[in-house]
């Protein structure tokens, strides 16, 4: 239902294929997953998105590969043979490996997410999930494009967002945003050039950790879009069908 976004910019390329446009720089990730079929699908889909994915099928070899090689992101299944995913992460952290970790879990409970993040995970995705959701999160964790954390002003094209004064300008013209719209735009611009899913927006802007199920996020995004694009020719905020949103200067 939510995919029927009838907005002006719903014409971008969609699905996993989108990433094959070679703009995505190479990223190297490690997938620790005991379900071989799921892992094979994942590594293939990541490769199509321009990401090199190594695979480990149990906790011990995952721990070994994770501490011997340097990866941009690790995707760790919660339940693994020989060593539990949570234990792999805490052991990696103990060994000083600070690679961002995304936890995949079939349990998908609130406690489970908290336990995973407490052990040193950086993000959490319950199964079943859409691959586009996983891809978007891995790319954001890899953080090859987004603005550095310490930047006080985010810029995308002629759009500027000042994190201190909470001012937003486009081509020098001030745009007035509601507090929530500001946070929405801030998160999108922080991850400029990367796909941000609706679930990620709900997580970071509203602090709820579940799939919004409906078009509620789309309505907020379209409001924001009309504010930042109404009087300007060039669209910045794109809808990535089947995945989410991306803010990007097509330059």
């Amino acid at each position: 239902m939510e995919t029927s976004t009838s907005h002006a910019h719903a014409d971008e390329s969609g699905g996993a294929k989108r990433a094959a446009d070679a703009i995505v720089p190479h990223m190297k990730i490690l997938v620790i997953e005991d379900d071989l079929e799921a892992a094979a699908y994942m590594t293939k889909a990541f490769r199509e998105a321009g990401i090199v994915a190594d695979h480990a099928s149990d906790g011990e070899s995952g721990l070994f590969m994770g501490s011997e090689n340097s990866y941009d992101v690790m995707v760790v299944d919660r339940m693994l043979p020989r060593r539990d995913g949570i234990s792999v992460i805490s052991e990696l952290r103990k060994r000083g490996v600070n690679t961002p970790v995304l936890i995949l879990s079939a349990l998908g409970q609130v406690d489970d997410r908290v336990a995973g993040l407490r052990a040193g995970g950086d993000d959490y995705l319950p199964k079943p999930y859409a691959f586009s959701e996983l891809l978007a999160r891995v790319e954001v964790l890899g953080r090859r494009k987004g603005a550095p954390e310490q930047d006080m002003v985010y810029r995308v094209g002629d759009l500027e967002l000042d994190r201190l004064s909470h001012e937003v300008r486009r081509a020098g013209k001030e745009i007035l945003l509601q507090p929530r719209e500001f946070r929405l735009l801030e998160y999108l611009m922080k991850n400029a050039g990367q796909v941000v899913t609706r679930t990620m927006l709900l997580e970071h802007v509203w602090d709820y950790h579940f799939d919004p199920q409906t078009n509620v996020i789309d309505v907020h995004v379209s409001r924001l879009r009309s504010k930042i694009e109404k009087d300007f020719d060039k669209p910045l905020l794109k809808t990535i069908r089947g995945a989410g949103y991306m803010i990007k200067d097509e330059g």
Binding site: G15, G108, Q109, W206, Q213, V216, H220
Partner: protein
Amino acid sequence: MTSRLRLMFRSTAVRLSALYILLFAICAAFLVVYVTAMSERILAQQTRENLVQEIGDIQRAYDRGGLNGMLRIMERRARQPGANLYVVAGPTGEILAGNVASLQPGVLDEQGWTRFPFSYRPFSESGPEREHMAIANVIFMENGLRVMIGRDLGEPGRFRGIVRRALMVALTIMGIGALFIWFGIGRNALKRIDRMSGASQKIMAGDLSQRLPVGRSGDEFDRLSESLNAMLGRIERLNEGLRQVSDNIAHDLKTPLTRLRNKAADALNEDDPGQRRAALEGIIAESDQLIRTFNALLMISRVEAGSIAAEMSEVDLSAITADSCELYEPVAEEAGLRLETSIAPGLKVKGNRELIGQAMFNLLDNAIKYSAGSQGEPLVRVVLSADVTGIRLSVCDNGPGVPEEKRAEVVKRFVRLDASRSKPGTGLGLSLVEAVMELHGGSLRLSATNPENAQAPGLTATMVFPPLTS
């Protein structure tokens, strides 16, 4: 019968009553021994006092009438029935006069009270002479004679006999009574346990609607049965939910899966790249929807199983309500509706913010979805209020509503009214809300917003939270 008896000895009730009998018998024996000892002491005391008086009399008789006077009075007294013992002995201890035939040697060697009861032989009128026990006081006179005045202890001995017999009788009666009670309790308990295990065997065989028998006495067995029955009720509900889920999953997922398959077949047959792409995107959208449905189902099951209970803390319900309304306000506006709120500030409940938030999202989503395009007033009202009975969070719409007889139905998984089939949705929204409320010890109540308006009665969904007790 022997196996029954063996079973009975194994039963806790019987073992306990045996233990009680033993303890009681020990206490009773102790009591009897104590009472006997005490009464013997009192009797001995009385005997001594009696003897002291006797000695005084004899002394006075001697003072007044000399040896002869004393002997006379002793003779007279000795002849009375139940008389004391009188002995007048020479300096060497040979008995000169009195009503005693012989004495245990050494009794007359010391002046004053005999230290222990001693044996003696009285003059008996008939039959063989028997040994008697007595206590006595011995007086050494100036002329070398020794006078002993004593009392037979036959009486205290008889008293002890009576007490012993009484004790034996009492213990026997107690033992027999205990055996009866023991048998009664054991048999009763066994019977009830048999009935309980009979019922549980039926339950194990798969009939979850069976319940354990509950008597009227409200005793331990009944309380046990009641709590086991409550447990069975919960298991039955969970099981029923599970069965319903699997049935409904099979049934309701068939449709989208068939759609998915058809779209895949279309995509395969499509030659035009644009059309094929559109078909593939449709497949992705359809799969996403399926994933959502699965996620919602899993969520409901987990909430119902209570496994998220660990994450409960004090949360600000007013803030959650305000956040949800803020989130949905543009959605309502886009649907041509006003979202009106009346939120009492600072209301807190013990709960899980994520779950309450999700329940609230579901209610708002429903309200907006079903109000849009209805004939009622284009308004969704959210009211959060509290009183002593609880905290109420209501979402009221002016849509077509739910007929009263269908209200219990629509909270079930995948149940959707025919009229709403055309609207998007999984049919799981209210199921989750209800599960969440149950987890929070509250309830979900459905009512009509405007019962008098037949065209658009509307639906008011109220989440009732128990009051926060600190």
